[in-house]
Amino acid sequence: MKKDEVPQDGDNLHEGSFRQLFYAVDDKGSYTPVSSVGWEPENVAMAQAWEEVHDRVERARQRVLAGQLSPVGYYMEKHLMDLALLASYVGRFQWQVKRHMRPRVFNKLSDKMLQRYAAAFRITVQELKKVI
């Protein structure tokens, strides 16, 4: 890649201020670091990854509102976690966390357990109980 071929496809994902470094070849054929605001294919891939995340969060939200899923499932998606990661944050087995995703089980959770979930999601217990 030549220095003048380094792409400068900015988008809002980088929030303007963020620049990354590419290594490119100058006129004399020597490598030099060149700063870039982004490249279209990467922006597309990144936007798609986020779209997928937002889809999953929205689906989880609908299920919570329909009474099929506890807020634990919603916040897990919202914080880009999976079962294994969430389980290690709250210090429980995966099957236990899975169980806590059932609304009936969730409603009976101890304050201590709720506190752990809230801490893992960095929210308060009140926020944990509410999904809007």
Partner: protein, 332 residues
């Protein structure tokens, strides 16, 4: 107050090495660190899934570059892990108070100075803490263009993120940095190791074989996993190749920059020629990412486009195989 000279780099691990060693009067560029550490690699691991998407990597596993560079240059590091955040932060303060900049392992997800779009759960990010400003810590994050600050709570969270690999508050700093180092032997060792990893590892998922492995699987994405997942799988390959931290073309340009430096250092013009060849291979990779990006954007998972992408990967594989064989045969 520690005077820390921050230079933005492409990749966090080689960047921390370069910035930290320079602080002790040992100047090596980022590509040099990357090359001596034999950072270039390829791997495709369909069963190691991140959010349901198979993993692809263009470089060696996290930590390997650091460890190799230190042992090849004779740098002695002090490295510690902790059981509790309070202890880890205390230890960090103690070392900072002695005027020593400290490298820490962190999770990108908890670093507030990154744009939200980049904050995924990636646990092997390296940065340097070089001082305190009130309660806040002064950060030299190699992939940022300037130094920044972080609040103690976010730093503690970043250092104690869960998942794989768990940083467990890991921090490190050099205790012995030799003043005069000859880079010739480390460069030779780095090149030999890179060739070995790209050509000789007897596992089909790694090295040049790994590229062919991915090509074979990609060809069948539409029929195997459906339109929606195909696009996600493809998007992940693009991101691993081109996202912040790679220097472009999945570290291929960075390695070419290393070979250029190595050619001067060892007075081996052959390496300069190979550097040019690798630049060309990097352009092949960029071309692949460009076409893959178009497929992602159109979302039309027709078999033809995936077959074409697969062909392009096979071309990259053939080019890299030839390249690393020639590199391995250079008499250094």
């Amino acid at each position: 107050m520690i005077q820390f000279d921050h230079v933005q780099t492409a990749h966090c691990e080689s960047g921390v090495i370069s910035n930290m060693f320079r602080h002790y009067g040992l100047s090596i560029s980022e590509p040099m660190a990357f090359g001596i550490g034999a950072g270039i690699f390829f791997g495709h691991l369909p069963f190691v899934k991140v959010n349901g998407v198979p993993g692809t990597t263009y470089r060696i596993w996290p930590g390997a570059i650091f460890q190799r560079v230190c042992s090849r240059l004779g740098v002695k590091m002090q490295s510690q892990k902790f059981s509790a955040p309070a202890k880890a932060m205390e230890a960090l303060d103690t070392v900072l108070a002695k005027g020593i900049p400290v490298g820490v392992l962190s999770s990108v997800y908890y670093l507030p100075y990154f744009p939200p779009a980049y904050r995924f759960h990636f646990n092997a990010h390296n940065l340097v803490i070089y001082g305190k400003n009130g309660a806040n810590y002064q950060v030299s994050d190699p992939i940022m263009d300037t130094v920044t600050e972080i609040d103690p709570q976010s730093l503690a969270e970043a250092r104690f993120a869960k998942g794989f690999p768990e940083p467990r508050g890991k921090m490190y700093y050099p205790v012995k940095v030799p003043k005069d180092v000859s880079l010739e032997k480390p460069v030779r060792q780095g090149i030999a190791q890179a060739c070995h990893y790209m050509l000789k590892v007897p596992v089909p998922m790694f090295g040049v074989k790994g590229i062919r492995f991915l090509a074979k699987r990609m060809r069948h994405y539409p029929e195997k996993v459906g339109d929606r997942r195909s696009v996600l799988y493809l998007g992940n390959v693009i991101r691993m190749q081109e996202e912040i931290g790679t220097g472009g073309a999945g570290f291929r340009f960075m390695y070419a920059a290393f070979l250029q430096e190595a050619a001067m250092l060892l007075s081996k013009p052959e390496l300069g020629v190979l550097s040019k060849e690798l630049t060309g291979i990097g352009d092949l990779w960029r071309n692949f990412a460009f076409q893959a990006g178009r497929v992602c954007k159109s979302r039309a998972a027709d078999d033809v486009s995936y077959r074409e992408l697969s062909e392009m990967l096979l071309q990259c594989a053939a080019a890299e195989e030839g390249f690393f064989k020639r590199l391995a045969n250079v008499k250094l």
